[in-house]
């Protein structure tokens, strides 16, 4: 039977039960929670004999198999001890809270949170799997957040809850990182494996970072200096929560974790330095600050911090006997501190205040409660015959015992004694100022004893303090031995639990602490004055909120710098970052910029072309505000590029570039009509400079990359096509053969897209009329003579010539530079010239108005070529060619690809015309004039 998963699961099941049971009256929730807790306790006791017999129980459920994670639970002595504390004190707190909470508080919510917390806490102490432990760890942070903020109306409670969640949650994440590292070091996340791999872990190079991360988790949770500040703030929680979470359980989770990992992590200088050092500092500072708190719960919170530091110190000392003392003090602290918190809750409840400056002389009004609190406080101070004395004396003995092992070792007993002095002093202050010291000041109503049953949990705990303090060997010994053996992962050492050990240094230290404490309290006035002057200047909580506010300010400051900026800035950032990444790649690559190959030597023609291109581009930048000039200069750049193509033996590309350039120029000019002749001025020299630098760097970068690539040997894919063009496609012009044959399918797709784009533009422009500017910047109107007759006549003469050229280019395309695409552009330009020179109405009367047909025919012809091949049993678009003898002309090659090229030609002509004509028709000017500019029809 799976008992351990049941132990963890039951409280989680109890949580919704508690919420639901409120329907049956206000007290349904405590009864349900108490019942569930009792059942859980019984289930746990059912399997408790295993640890007592020296066995470790492990039970696992499949969970995350592929990642090597199971839901695994483990019960050994240490786990059992903590689980008993959690359930036992949990039961008392459930009982107590029923009386503590007021009628208007929602009990269902409180008990739901409490049960969730209890389940998470049990999950921590019973986890066999480290990741699972962290999961439950974070869950306790969350539930404690809910519990601290239980009184949601209070701003203070909400702030405190957030702070504790941030601190402990952050620590939990650090712990997660540490646990992941630990798991990777061992190769398993199972505690059994990790505990067995102590030597391997301690020798690992990651030991120190891993230890630091784990300690961050433990210190934040257990409120160690300098992360202690959340605990006093968390006193805004209802007192049962403080009694449960902030004395007995949650704050002990950090201690538990270190105890759990004690066999793996301890016994190194780093461990004793860090754990012992921070423990000692916390022990001393906590005790010191506790003395000056006027709020009872504040005093108890700092006292808790101090005692947690004491336990940490013991773990840090690291001897087996110190471990015994640590476990013993965990038990003792849980009992006396929980009872003290409950007593403080009673006082708060019945007297209406927790301020020791107001609460005086309560002995008269609530003697029974006062007696209980005084016993518990005596135990807290370490007075003989109470349980706190025993474990504290063990600490003193250990402090003396290890002092010889280190430099400045003598400081340890001294500091420990000083801390003990303060502990006595604040306990004394708590007793004296609360219960004696005259009469209460300014209380709203007269204090009185609480309901009888509210005191029962306190009585039980105080009784435990006494019994353990007087008869330790008979009461606590068995569970202590089991707990210690669980901690040490081996048998417990020899130790004696007697009250009287004879005259020893430890006894002397105890006496000194008691006497010193009384002395400090008696002459406390100067100390209080000093504390008043310091005014909490060094309180860590201030640093927390300062860091918190600083982060907010920082975020606000970083925000406008990069958030919601203009498009220009964004492009600048994008391009700049891209350039930096590229540059970093270059610098990181470590290879030289230039490769081995020697570039082609420079000749005058290339140089001239290059300079011409640079001059044209530069001039375009300088004159960019004059739009017409810059468009023409861009045309010149295009022309230079066409010449470069020709220079490097790519006449086909040159021709294409040339015709595309003309069409683009016309397109730009048509668009320019709607814009002012001059572009807007830039914002200023700084921006011009910036843009200039960016552009220069971009050009430099691209130039360098080109240089790097061109100076390296590379293979070209051209050879294959050069070889295959004639035998495979029957053409000498490789470019054209690729277009219409090898990659005919691509070309078919391209012309389809071209036609679609033409149609899309047509649909957008069809009924669009825009008024262009009527006057230029100097106030001059347009030339009334829109179609000069000379130009119109000349253009008409040119038309047949241009069409002949285009036909010639089309036909020779398969063998010599040319082809359907270029021919189409030439035709289109020739026709558009007619529109420009003769006007729309004249030209439209003579040319087919519907160009869709031409485009459609082109697509049909091209597709048809492919389909014919299919009809003849070849795959789509398979081409063929043959040679025919024509009379007069001679041998002529006819390829089926020519028909395909015709399709390309038609689509290009149709689309180009369609787009340009309709862009022109948007102009108001295109519609005003009619008739023949040359005269006649």
């Amino acid at each position: 039977m799976m008992s351990l998963p049941l132990v963890v699961l039951l409280p989680f099941l109890g949580a919704p039960l508690a919420a639901w049971s409120v329907r049956f009256g206000r007290l349904g929730a405590p009864w349900a929670s108490g019942g569930i807790t009792l059942v859980t306790l019984l289930v746990l006791l059912g399997v408790a004999e295993a640890p007592f017999a020296g066995r470790t129980m492990v039970e696992r459920l499949p969970w995350l198999g592929s990642a090597g994670l199971d839901l695994a639970f483990r019960l050994d002595g240490l786990g059992l001890l903590f689980a008993l504390l959690i359930l036992g004190i949990g039961l008392l707190v459930i009982f107590y809270a029923r009386y503590y909470l007021e009628a208007e508080d929602c009990l269902g919510r409180f008990y739901t949170y409490l049960m969730l917390f209890m389940g998470a806490m049990l999950g921590i102490v019973l986890s066999e799997n480290l990741v699972q432990l962290v999961v439950f760890w974070e869950l306790t942070s969350l539930t404690s957040f809910l519990l601290i903020s239980y009184w949601q109306g209070s701003e203070e409670a909400r702030r405190a809850a957030r702070m504790s969640l941030v601190v402990t949650g952050a620590g939990g994440l650090a712990l997660l990182a540490g646990v992941v590292m630990l798991g990777e070091m061992v190769g398993s996340y199972a505690l059994s494996d990790v505990l067995a791999a102590g030597d391997q872990v301690r020798a690992h190079p990651w030991y120190l970072p891993m230890l630091t991360l784990v300690l961050l988790g433990a210190f934040t949770k257990s409120a160690q200096f300098p992360f202690h500040f959340w605990l006093p703030a968390a006193m805004a929680a209802p007192t049962p929560v403080s009694a449960y979470l902030h004395s007995a359980t949650m704050v002990k989770a950090g201690v538990f974790l270190l105890a759990r990992l004690f066999p793996v992590l301890s016994d190194t200088p780093a461990w004793s330095g860090l754990v012992g050092g921070f423990g000692l500092a916390t022990f001393l500072l906590g005790a010191y600050f506790a003395l000056f708190k006027h709020d009872i719960k504040g005093l108890l919170a700092y006292s808790t911090i101090s005692h947690l530091g004491l336990i940490m110190l013991l773990l840090g000392i690291g001897t087996p006997l110190a471990a015994v003392a640590a476990v013993f003090h965990i038990i003792n602290h849980a009992t006396f501190k929980a009872s003290l918190f409950m007593a403080a809750g009673i006082i708060d409840h019945e007297a209406g205040s927790r301020d020791m400056r107001k609460l005086n002389g309560l002995w008269k009004y609530m003697p029974h409660t006062a007696l209980l609190a005084m016993v518990a406080a005596a135990s807290m101070a370490g007075v003989p015959l109470f349980n706190g004395f025993l474990s504290k004396e063990m600490l003193f003995a250990e402090a003396v015992g290890v002092q010889t092992q280190m430099a400045f070792g003598w400081l340890l007993p001294v500091v420990v004694t000083v801390a003990g002095v303060f502990a006595v002093a604040y306990s004394l202050r708590f007793i004296y100022e609360t219960f004696f010291n005259g009469e209460p000041v300014g209380l709203e109503h007269t204090p009185h004893e609480p309901p009888r049953w509210m005191k029962v949990p306190v009585e039980i705990l105080v009784l435990l303090c006494l019994v353990v303090g007087i008869l330790p060997a008979l009461t606590v010994e068995p569970i202590l031995a089991v707990g210690v053996s669980g901690l040490l992962h081996g048998p417990a050492p020899e130790y004696s639990l007697a009250i009287w050990h004879g005259f020893s240094p430890a006894l002397l230290m105890s006496v000194l602490a008691l006497a010193g404490g009384v002395g400090v309290y008696a002459f406390r006035a100067p100390l209080f004055a000093l504390a008043e002057r310091m005014g909490g200047r060094f309180e860590a909580v201030r640093f927390f909120w300062r860091g918190h506010d600083g982060l907010l300010r920082w975020a606000d400051r970083a925000n406008p710098w990069q958030d919601g900026v203009s498009l220009t800035t964004m492009v600048l950032a994008l391009v700049g970052a891209g350039g930096i990444v590229g540059l970093a790649g270059h610098l990181g690559g470590g290879s030289p910029l230039a490769g081995g190959a020697t570039p082609t030597p420079l000749d005058p023609v290339s140089l001239l072309l290059g300079l011409g291109g640079i001059a044209a581009a530069g001039a375009a930048v300088v004159l960019h505000r004059r739009r017409l000039a810059s468009v023409i200069l861009l045309g010149a750049v295009g022309l230079v590029i066409a010449l470069v193509f020709i220079r490097f033996s790519a006449p086909d590309l040159g021709l294409t570039q040339l015709s595309v350039e003309v069409v683009t120029l016309i397109l730009l000019l048509l668009a320019l009509y709607f814009l002012p002749q001059h572009g807007p001025a830039e914002d200023g020299a700084a921006r011009c400079l910036r843009d200039g630098v960016v552009a220069g760097l971009a050009g430099l970068g691209v130039g360098l990359v080109s240089w790097a690539i061109l100076t390296r040997p590379h293979e070209t894919i051209a050879d294959y096509f050069l070889e295959q063009a004639k035998p495979g496609g029957g053409g000498a012009n490789v470019v054209n053969v690729i277009l219409v044959d090898f990659r005919g399918f691509d070309t078919l797709g391209e012309i389809a897209v071209l036609a679609l784009a033409g149609l899309g533009i047509f649909a957008m422009l069809q009924h669009l009329y825009l008024p262009g500017p009527a006057k230029d910047h100097a106030g001059r109107g347009w030339d009334p003579d829109r179609h000069p007759p000379i130009m119109a006549s000349l253009t008409r003469l040119l038309l047949p010539l241009a069409l002949l050229v285009s036909f010639f280019i089309f036909l020779r395309g398969h063998q010599l530079p040319g082809g359907g695409f270029i021919a189409g552009l030439v035709t289109a330009v020739a026709l558009i010239m007619q529109y420009l020179a003769n006007g729309v109405s004249w030209t439209q009367a003579r040319l087919p108005a519907h160009l869709h047909g031409i485009m459609g025919t082109g697509l049909l012809v091209a597709t048809g070529t492919g389909l014919v091949a299919m009809a003849l049993g070849y795959p789509f678009l398979t081409s063929t060619f043959d040679y025919f003898h024509w009379p007069l002309v001679g041998e002529v090659e006819l390829a089926s690809a020519l028909a395909f090229d015709l399709g390309v030609y038609l689509v290009v002509v149709g689309t180009t015309l369609l787009v340009l004509i309709h862009l022109g028709m948007v102009h108001r000017a295109s519609h005003g004039v009619s008739g023949n500019p040359v005269g006649g029809q």
Partner: protein, 478 residues
């Protein structure tokens, strides 16, 4: 020349989506405005059919088709299934919102489906050409979607920024790809990898890798290529932001794996360092600046940036564990992000966008169900245990520690702590503050069901993540 007919079975889902998109486009023309739900139903049906097809065709085999340019492997199957699922959920969330704003048009669904097609192509492509085509199909759909609300200047500004920057980034990606093609002589991922092993990587290859990384990082929104993201997230109608934030990140992740891990695997050391810088910056900036936001949408945008940092951390580990951790993370992120934007869609009404953080105040008093879902979402985003986000972070951290990037893991943890801060601030508003607005939330049953399922998935997968972990581990085989 002749060519063989390729095996088209592996691309059947793509063909179905394409055909259905065309069909829906035509059908939508003949519908009246009040019949637009037919378009919606057809769209959802298409996604369901594609899901079923991918599911039925999926197995452990790696199949190449279309001359080795398309791959069908467990990774593509897993990603496609999640893409359908997320898009399906997005459309459910979007419908009432778009109706209220008069944006419930056929274009939304058609563009959405085209985007899905683009993502499918990206996920399955083994050729740089196809990758680019898929990416552009997706991007163009997104540009159009972002500008769907043409009357809003904020929307237009966002679309303009997105378009221009996206074009620049695409240009950089293409530049890098063309350099790689020139250097290796191949567009095919496998052949590129072989060519690099054979010839070694020289300076131009490093530069090429840099530009490819820049292009891909922009699409995911990694710092310093992130600036478009908050503006676009805030500017676009929320239903479109939801679409934009979820599934496309999965496709972007696929490109990283296909191109960087599989194709440029031999130069892992080069891109690893670049991703490291991007990841560190993303984690830092995303988390810190998110704190300063007052708009919930912008906060989620910066949260996206920080999550992308985590995804990059997983990727840069360069191991199978790292890739599967990143896959796990990106899936988890997509679910969380969609849930976040769905919350805004839940709160929005006619005339109220509800995209400010203040609109979340007192949500618990207005609708405990929505408040609880927000609680799960925020916990998950913060990486708090027993939610999906925790396991995602854990997987990435483990992958990092395995390859000795301990300092990166610690840095990521520190940044998560800062991140937790603003997620918890949202919860504080939801649970502790008094509501400004008291109107009840009114959404249909389908919305509430899917919204609840989204939250439950994050909680359920958080409680029992084994299935998803196994799925992600099985999908990666680089």
């Amino acid at each position: 020349m002749t060519m063989e007919m390729p095996n088209l079975v592996p691309v059947l889902p793509e063909i179905v989506v394409l055909a259905m998109t065309c069909l829906i486009l035509v059908v939508d023309l003949f519908l009246r405005d009040d019949q637009r739900d037919v378009t919606y139903l057809l769209t959802q049906a298409t996604l369901v059919v594609a899901f079923a097809l991918t599911w039925a065709l999926g197995d452990d085999q790696v199949r190449l088709t279309l001359f080795g340019s398309v791959v069908n492997d467990p990774l593509s199957d897993v990603l496609k299934l999640f893409i359908y699922l997320l898009t399906f959920m997005t459309f459910v969330f979007a419908r009432p919102y778009m109706k209220e704003r008069g944006l419930h048009t056929g274009e939304y669904y058609v563009l959405g489906l085209l985007g899905v097609l683009g993502m499918m192509v990206m996920v399955s492509s083994y050729s740089m050409l196809l990758m680019y085509l898929g990416l552009e199909l997706l991007s163009l759909s997104l540009y159009a979607l972002v500008s769907l609300n043409r009357d809003s200047t904020r929307c237009s500004e966002a679309a303009m920024k997105y378009l221009v920057l996206g074009a620049v980034a695409s240009g950089m990606l293409l530049y890098g790809m063309s350099l790689i093609y020139g250097l290796t002589g191949s567009l095919n991922v496998i052949e590129i990898s072989h060519a690099i092993v054979r010839d070694g990587a020289d300076l131009p290859m490093v530069v090429a890798v840099a530009f490819v990384v820049v292009g891909l990082a922009f699409k995911l929104g990694a710092v310093p290529f992130h600036m478009w993201l908050p503006d676009v997230y805030e500017g676009a109608p929320t239903a479109i932001t939801a679409y934009l934030s979820a599934a496309p990140k999965l496709a972007g992740f696929a490109l990283f794996v296909r191109l960087l891990a599989e194709g440029l695997g031999p130069v892992t050391a080069e891109w690893q360092q670049m991703l490291m810088v991007l990841a560190v910056l993303s984690l830092f900036l995303g988390n810190v600046v998110a704190i300063a936001q007052t708009s919930f949408k912008r906060m989620l945008a910066y949260s996206t940036i920080s999550h992308i940092g985590f995804v990059l951390l997983g990727l840069l580990a360069g191991t199978n564990d790292g890739y599967s951790a990143a896959l796990f993370y990106v899936v988890a992120y997509a679910l969380m992000s969609l849930g976040g934007f769905a919350t805004i869609l839940y709160l929005a009404r006619r005339g109220t966008e509800a995209e400010s953080l203040d609109d979340l105040r007192g949500l618990n008093d207005r609708n405990p169900f929505a408040a609880f879902t927000v609680l799960i979402l925020m916990f998950s985003m913060a990486g708090i245990p027993f939610t999906l986000g925790f396991w995602a972070k854990l997987a990435v951290l483990r992958a990092l520690v395995q390859v000795d990037f301990v300092w990166l893991a610690v840095f990521a943890v520190v940044m998560s702590v800062i991140g937790a801060f603003y997620y918890l601030r949202v919860l504080k508003m939801v649970y502790f503050d008094k509501p400004v607005e008291t109107a009840p939330l009114a959404r249909g049953l389908d919305f509430r069901l899917v919204f609840g399922a989204n939250g439950l998935a994050i909680l359920g997968l958080g409680l029992y993540p084994a299935g998803l972990v196994a799925l992600c581990a099985g999908a990666i085989n680089v």
